[in-house]
């Protein structure tokens, strides 16, 4: 394998694992904020907060690698479009992540210590920063899908219109679709965990989870299909492969070759596989959520097990969705501007292989450990303890 292929596998793998955690952060946090608003900071809300924090830990840890890879293995991207592309990412780090982590600390350590309204405002601000984070990441990704608001100066893209970047259809459609998918994941997570716990105190949570899951899964279908006309105009080759239209693919190939010079401009045909898996999973999720809401699925033992079994489905669908979006963009890293083979750094095959193995091992071990901890916290149920309750605060404090 070449360094290019290894670097692509490394990015796809780390991004997929990262999104398993950050996707749940996005989906779960509004539900927790809603529950705290509705029911206060009691032990059931503490339980959800603890699950959220266990998940968030890996969101941070896996996110570390993401931003660094742009410099590590995709140097060409920084050279060709750094002035446009790095802006949103730097904002994501500075504004969204920095604020998010600090607010999380205030929320956890201020639990039952800060005034009630202030504490509530903090959890909603925390939710806003999580979504700001997704927004800025999608602004950067939207630029890759559909570069706007730039001008080429001396072989480098320079930002000319920040507003265009923020209203880029390559971003807005994707962001809306992603938010619906994340809510779907959060809803099924809450519904599945509540169904497993069975206790009466979880009944309102189960219902709320199903409502969010139903809205999310129906939204994800609608918003997915809504972007097809835009996709047909912006990335005709991807659209043609996804819809199986060979005539349109030939036309797109011809038009792109005329514009960008000879070459193969069709994305890999296999992206129809994750597309179909995503569609099938979303259909199944919509059916389960609606059945749970209107036909009392949670009343039976089998129905509860079905809800528990549905928890991983939205995550599988999200990974498939990313594969369709990102692999479907090939052969471009920035559509029409920078080819993937020109974006890769000149790091040696051995170095990239070594980092792939190292990141892979760390990611795998930590993800498994995190899921094990999540499962353990679910099994223990609401203990009335906050996250970090096991910290020893017993040391004497010297003067500050």
């Amino acid at each position: 394998m070449t360094a290019l292929e290894l670097a692509r596998i490394q990015f796809a793998g780390t991004a997929s694992v990262h999104f398993l955690f950050s996707g749940l952060t996005l989906g779960l946090l509004p539900i927790v904020a809603f529950l705290q608003t509705r029911y206060g900071t009691g032990r059931v809300v503490k339980f959800w907060a603890k699950l959220y924090v266990i998940n968030y830990a890996l969101g941070i840890v896996t996110g570390l690698v993401m931003e660094l890879q742009f410099g590590l293995t995709w140097n060409g991207l920084a050279t060709a479009a750094g002035a446009v592309f790095t802006g949103p990412l730097a904002l994501e780090t500075l504004v969204a992540f920095f604020a998010e982590s600090t607010l999380l600390g205030l929320w956890l350590f201020g639990w039952d210590r800060l005034p009630r309204r202030l504490h509530l405002a903090i959890v909603w601000a925390l939710t806003a920063t999580a979504y700001a984070s997704a927004f800025f990441v999608m602004v950067a990704n939207g630029f890759q899908q559909h570069p706007v608001g730039y001008a080429m100066r001396g072989g480098t893209a320079v930002l000319t219109d920040f507003g265009a970047l923020l209203t880029n259809p390559g971003m807005t459609y994707g962001l809306a679709h992603l938010v619906a998918g994340a809510l779907c994941a959060g809803g099924f997570f809450v519904a599945g965990v509540s169904a497993w716990r069975r206790a009466r105190e979880f009944a309102p949570n189960l219902r709320l989870g199903l409502v969010v899951a139903a809205v999310g899964s129906l939204g994800v279908v609608g918003l997915g299909f809504a972007q097809l006309p835009y996709l047909k105009a912006a990335q005709p080759a991807k659209h043609a492969v996804l819809t199986g239209d060979t005539a349109a693919l030939a036309r797109a190939q011809e038009a792109l070759a005329a514009r960008y010079g000879p070459g193969d401009y069709a994305p890999p045909r296999w992206i129809t596989v994750p597309q179909n898996v995503m569609l099938a999973l979303t259909l199944a999720m919509a059916l389960i959520a609606v059945a749970g809401l209107f036909f009392g699925l949670a009343g039976s033992r089998a129905g509860r097990w079905l809800l528990v079994a549905a928890v991983p489905l939205p995550f599988a669908a999200m990974v498939c969705g990313w594969l369709v979006r990102e692999v479907g963009r090939q052969p471009w890293t920035v559509y029409g501007l920078l080819r993937t083979r020109d974006a890769v750094s000149d790091a040696g095959t051995g170095a990239v292989a070594a980092s792939l193995v190292a990141f892979g091992a760390v990611y795998l071990a930590l993800a498994v450990a995190d899921w094990w901890l999540l499962a353990r916290a679910v099994r223990l149920g609401p203990t009335g303890e906050l996250p970090f309750a096991e910290l020893s605060f017993a040391e004497p404090v010297v003067r500050y």
């Binding site: 830990a57 890996l58 931003e67 920095f98 600090t102 210590r113 190292a358 450990a369 996250p387």
Partner: protein
């Protein structure tokens, strides 16, 4: 231009703040695991953001890629160490202490690979960790004093830059004297920070004006939130003993706790 100002601030903050955690992690076998985790735990979330912000900005302006291996080592060690701390505090048990120690070790070595300077960062981190731990665990004070001479000697040997070495040695000596613990911790943090700054050099990347325009007004808010968090953690700690007892007694007297059906 914005990055030229921001990057040094973040690198300094990164090494001074995360260096405290890393150094304390290195002292786990000496000072006791529970004590160290107790010392790092409540503050590491607040310090984490400095590290991420610095490394992200360094990455974006191209400073972080001098050493491919350095980046990989730093990232893997960091992930391991953070996950160890998170997991231990979230019910994963004391087994994760090994990950915290190994991650701290890897991180300090990785700084050396990434920024240059070899094992200097390891030595400085031990020193800084000792003075940070002394803020919360007086048993660390002798460790700080004992470490001063070897660390200063090693520094002078490994870093031939005379003015820098002089500044760092003065800072280390200040930390070894009978000074208030906060001053000692600031001195060792500054020693790490100036070393990092010196080795990072200056980055020459143009910043999109819009980034500066958006980020500049937000930064004071972020700094305010950081101060609020640190104050809350330090105050909560002083209150935590009785407060936790009170919470426990409230829970037991109010029966099954808070019911949910409203």
């Amino acid at each position: 231009m914005f990055f030229q100002v921001l990057l040094p601030v973040l690198v300094f903050g990164w090494l001074a703040v995360q260096g405290a955690d890393v150094g304390a992690g290195l002292l786990m076998p000496v000072l006791g695991r529970d004590r160290i985790v107790g010392a790092i735990g409540p503050l590491f979330l607040a310090s984490e953001v400095w590290a991420v912000a610095a490394l992200a900005v360094a990455s974006l302006v191209g400073v972080a890629h001098r050493s491919y291996a350095g980046v990989v080592v730093v990232v893997c060690a960091w992930a391991l160490r953070d996950a160890g701390l998170w997991f231990r505090c979230l019910g994963g048990g004391r087994g994760w202490d090994a990950a915290v120690f190994a991650g701290s070790f890897g991180l300090a070595l990785g700084w050396g690979l990434l920024l240059g300077g070899g094992p200097v960062f390891l030595a400085l981190a031990v020193m800084h960790g000792a003075s940070f731990a002394a803020l919360r665990a007086p048993a660390a004070v002798p460790v700080r004093r004992l470490a001063t001479l070897p660390v200063a000697a090693m520094y002078v040997f490994a870093v031939p830059d005379t003015p820098l070495a002089a500044v760092v040695v003065i800072l280390l000596v200040v930390a070894a004297l009978r000074v208030p613990p906060v001053l000692a911790a600031l001195a060792t943090g500054a020693a790490l920070g100036v070393t990092g700054l010196h080795l990072t050099g200056t980055a020459g990347a143009a910043t999109p004006a819009v980034l500066a325009a958006v980020a500049a007004p937000v930064l004071p808010v972020l700094v305010f939130l950081q101060i609020a968090l640190w104050r809350l953690c330090l105050r909560a700690e002083r209150l935590s003993g009785p407060a936790r007892l009170r919470a426990a007694s409230e829970l037991s007297t109010s029966g099954a706790g808070v019911t949910h059906d409203g």
